[in-house]
Amino acid sequence: MNDTIAAIATAQGVGAIAIIRVSGPEAFNIVSKIFSNKKFKDADSHTINYGYILDNGDKIDEVLVTKMIGPKTFTREDVVEINTHGGILITSKILELLLLNGCRLAEPGEFTKRAFLNGRIDLTEAEGIMDLINSKTDKAREMAINQMNGDASNMIHNLRDELAGIISNIEVNIDYPEYEDIEEMTLDKLSLSLKDLEDKVNRILVRSREGEYIKNGIKTVIIGRPNVGKSSLLNRLLGQNKAIVTDVLGTTRDTIEATMVLDNIILNLIDTAGIRETEDKVESIGVSKSLKLMDEADLVLFMLNYGEEITSDDKKILEKLKGKNYIIVVNKTDLDKKLDDSILDDPVYVSVLDNKNIDEIKDRIKELFNLEKLETDDLTYLTSARSQAILKQVLESVKDVKNGIKNYPIDMVEIDLKNIWNLLGEIIGESYDEELLDQLFSRFCVGK
């Protein structure tokens, strides 16, 4: 941590202002080299300084530069934040100047890593911060804060305590085999406790998936044949909810058309077929692409035309909908009915054009995702993918234990129980894994 790092701290390309953050022992010296304000070097801590960023005398941008002297900073090091006028070109140019003058480009999550290493935050807080940065709604923010406070880990602690009780009972039986007064942990008793553990882990996983919706939004795919009214529905949904059109440059979500907030939960609306329609009006929907999108979606809005018959493509999609969260939306109820809706499962009849019955779609979504319940529940979810992956491993080990119980003595089975105990410990940072730390920090977005 002897070098000075720099990175763009705000999302690239959006917004009127971008911030470039610099942290490390040379932060003030390096910034002074490219900053017109000569008083900056001797300025007090936590001051904002006005001036220009200069490249060999050329003005690059008019900026405000915040100076913060360590240790009262996020990383506990000397920190500079340059507020520029945004835009990819200007921000990149300034970053480049900083790098030319002795900064190193920060690795993903490196600011947070430094904050952790310098004792500013602990590991669970670090995870929480990452979620906080990415949170888009109040609820998501609340959840991230909960994770930072350790509410999420309480649940795991409890599970682990119960397990420790079972394990120590088995071990006492092993170490003091002749003490008949000590209760014997039998395979039957163990099976009961195991069932309970499995239920709880499953419940946490379900809740975490719900938490996932809170944090990342519900990935909603609108599909249907051309002219069925997908784009109109999209616009209708958006228009009524003052939607924010998200900028998604360079992310994997480049298919998201728009984001809307429904009862504090984000819906990420996806409408790829729309693109195709503009390219070629007569091109039928790409069934295969739609199917792939459906696979990844949390929710499918499948649109049909009230005035048209169901095609074989439609039937293919209907078949694939089984087992997914979906709502069948029958549009254009103002037309004469040609649709055979007897094979449809509880469709919602709307007229997007006349803005009729749109709210019912929203109510259905709320119902499907239990949004009302989510709102009143305590917000203890395991939000990180890592934690959820470990919980799935826990379920695998539970399976091992169950198989073991049938064929092996209890002291063998206990080895898998210990494994479960260790896995749960990993979630709350009570087991050791070096890669865990590296993985964790590399997940942080550059800049925080």
């Binding site: 941590m1 952790f116 290493l117 310098n118 004792g119 602990d122 590991l123 120590s168 071990e171 092993i174 170490d175 003091y176 085999p177 002749e178 003490y179 008949e180 007064d181 073991g404 049938k406 064929n407 092996y408 003595p409 209890i410 002291d411 063998m412 080895i415 898998d416 210990k418 494994n419 940072g429 009570e430 087991s431 050791y432 070096e434 730390l437």
Partner: protein
């Protein structure tokens, strides 16, 4: 006369230490306060027990004496946890308190290169922090290149009964009054520990009809891999089981303040063992428990003392009388020896290296209760390791260090020097994270090669061992090669789940309901039951064993990550202060070791790893 190695103390640690050193050809002197107390069993009359029995097997595999000696001195023997899996099975024997020490003394006397001297040691002599010899209490100086201290409970020993404190060792023996003070002067941090022993009862005064019989096993066992059983299975001496009563608990609670530990004595500093609490502790801590189990164990066929296991206390004699008489079968019991507690000095074990050499003084080794452990087996295995490593040091060779995945002995020593102790350390199965690998049945497979390497396994035993290993792999191959089909075999159609296609004996053996003896008739060659048992365990539990091996591998990554010797923990500002203090005290050699230090949490380890990366 000068010696290469001096062992101070003739208990279980001392015996193994001096035997290992002498057997390795070093001129060795054992100094003991009383020759008649060599290999004495001042507490319970048993060798082995859960985890401890496996240690005895490990001692045997490494060329130590305890197992062989116990085999010669049995009253009864049992395989504990027989109904559970092979990983937790462990032998426990009642050993005769007269025969066991006698046999051990004979072995010592007949070992070349070994002299025994009756005296007390006052100080360890050093030059430039390196051992030069010992100073005896009579003023005599004996020179030596290495010294192994196995002082047991004798350093500044106090016997506590009720409100009395007396400066003496077990059985009224002379304590060692100077040695621990002199060690403290050299810079050692001492710790006061306490242990206790229950009363002994006259056998003829017990009504055994009110107790439950606890016989030995009706199959033969030996601790040693090389011994044939020498006892008669039908002539084993039984133990008996009885319980405390409500009246016992009332007597204890009414008189609690008279117990040394509960106010009878105000100056108790010693910390007693958590895993072997006194009966007062049990009654106080588990008030809702209506009764506690007590075992009546014979001490010897040569005298009548019955050891009342589970009843150790520090009550005055008259209260002990009342307590004992409240027990079923002991209403008219005659107490031959009263229970007492003993307080003694130990050195804090984080001052040791893995070799059991002290960090402060070169060529000074310590083993047994002086290192804060409790139990004969724990002492003996340390004595063996100290004896081996003192010898290897003089030979200019690398020390023998057993890993946690190789032996309970490795677990014990790593725990001691890495975690330190709060109370006398007892080995438990649950302390071993790889217990599936550390079995009673495979102690020889784990350790005999090492015994050979350090020179404690003679040619004949080694050849026998190599043959056994060959037999095991040959048998395993046969099990995999020989395939059976239901057509050519009636047997297969009878086993519970029908098998249709040809299936190897190995896969049949994997079925839980199949015993290895069910399949021996299909083998081409004959194998010993020991070999077949090994094949059975390795086959039936293969999945679990593989898992354990995977865990070992995972940890090895950390165990092999050496921490630079000159690392400066003060420079790591983000370390929790407790972690920093512990790391500075223990100075772990590897990241794996650092992880096991209590008070060092994963975040501290992360910081340590980062620091090490940066240092490169």
């Amino acid at each position: 006369m000068d010696y290469e190695i001096i062992v101070v103390g003739g208990g279980h640690a001392g015996c193994e230490a001096c035997l290992a050193a002498a057997r390795k050809g070093h001129k060795t002197l054992l100094i003991t306060g009383n020759i008649n107390n060599i290999a004495d069993m001042p507490c319970n009359p048993s060798i082995g027990g859960s985890a401890k029995g496996i240690v005895v097997r490990e001692i045997d595999a490494l060329g130590g004496e305890m197992g062989r000696n116990a085999d010669k001195s049995l009253l009864q023997i049992k395989m504990l946890n027989f109904a559970k899996g092979p990983a937790v099975q462990s032998l426990r024997a009642q050993a005769d308190k007269i025969t066991y020490p006698k046999n051990m003394l004979n072995t010592l006397k007949n070992t070349p290169n070994l002299d025994i001297k009756e005296e007390l040691v006052k100080d360890v002599l050093t030059e430039n922090n390196k051992v030069t010899g010992v100073l005896l209490e009579n003023g005599e100086i004996i020179k030596a290149q290495a010294v192994i201290l196995t002082t047991g409970t004798y350093m500044n020993a106090d016997i506590l009964v009720g409100d009395t404190r007396k400066r003496e060792g077990p059985h009224g023996e002379k304590p060692s009054n100077y040695l621990s003070d002199n060690l403290e002067k050299k810079g050692f941090v001492l710790k006061r520990l306490k242990t206790g022993t229950p009363p002994r009862i006259d056998k003829s005064s017990i009504d055994f009809s009110k107790t439950k019989l606890e016989p030995g096993d009706n199959v033969y066992h030996t601790f040693s891999f090389d011994n044939e059983p020498v006892y008669n299975i039908d002539k084993q001496v039984p133990c008996y089981l009885t319980y405390t009563t409500e009246e016992t608990h009332k007597i204890i609670l009414d008189n609690l303040t008279k117990a040394s530990m509960y106010g009878g004595l105000s100056d108790i500093k010693g910390v007693g063992p958590r895993y072997c609490p006194s009966i007062e502790d049990k009654v106080v801590r588990f008030r809702d428990k209506p009764r506690h189990q007590l075992f009546l164990e014979p001490e010897s066929i040569y005298y009548d003392d019955i050891y009342l296991q589970g009843f150790s206390n520090s009550m005055p004699h008259e209260i002990q009388e009342k307590m004992v008489h409240s027990l079923p079968g002991l209403e008219n019991a005659k107490i031959l020896k009263y229970a007492y507690s003993i307080e003694y000095d130990a050195i804090y074990p984080t001052q040791l290296k893995f070799s059991l050499e002290t960090k402060l003084i070169e060529n000074l080794f310590t083993a047994g209760q002086i290192n804060g452990t409790s139990g004969y087996e724990e002492a003996a295995c340390q004595g063996l390791i100290a004896g081996i490593n003192a010898s290897l040091k003089l030979e200019g060779k690398e020390p023998l260090i057993l890993k946690r995945s190789e032996a309970y002995i490795g677990v014990l020593i790593d725990d001691l020097i890495t975690k330190g102790i709060r109370d006398p350390y007892r080995l438990l199965t649950s302390r071993a994270e790889y217990r599936l690998l550390l079995r009673s049945d495979n102690a020889d497979l784990r350790l005999k090669d090492k015994a050979r390497e350090v020179g404690l396994l003679d040619d004949l035993s080694y050849e026998k061992f190599i043959l056994k290993k060959k037999q095991i792999s040959k048998a395993k191959e046969e099990f995999k090669e020989i395939k059976l089909t239901p057509k050519d075999n009636d047997y297969l159609s009878n086993i519970t789940t029908p098998i249709n296609e040809g299936i190897s004996l190995y896969n049949i053996l994997k079925r839980p309901e199949i015993k290895v003896s069910d399949l021996t008739c299909f083998l081409k060659n004959e194998y010993s039951s020991e070999v077949l048992n090994q094949v059975m365990i390795q086959t039936k539990y293969e999945g679990y064993i593989d898992k354990a091996l995977k865990e070992v591998k995972k940890m090895e990554h950390y165990e092999n990550k050496k921490i630079p010797e000159d690392i400066n923990y003060d420079d790591m500002h983000n370390l929790a202060s407790e972690a920093k203090q512990k790391l500075k005290e223990v100075r772990p050699l590897t990241v794996g070791q650092a992880m096991r230090i209590s008070g060092v949490n994963p975040a501290d380890i992360s910081i340590l790893l980062m620091q090490m990366k940066r240092g490169k």
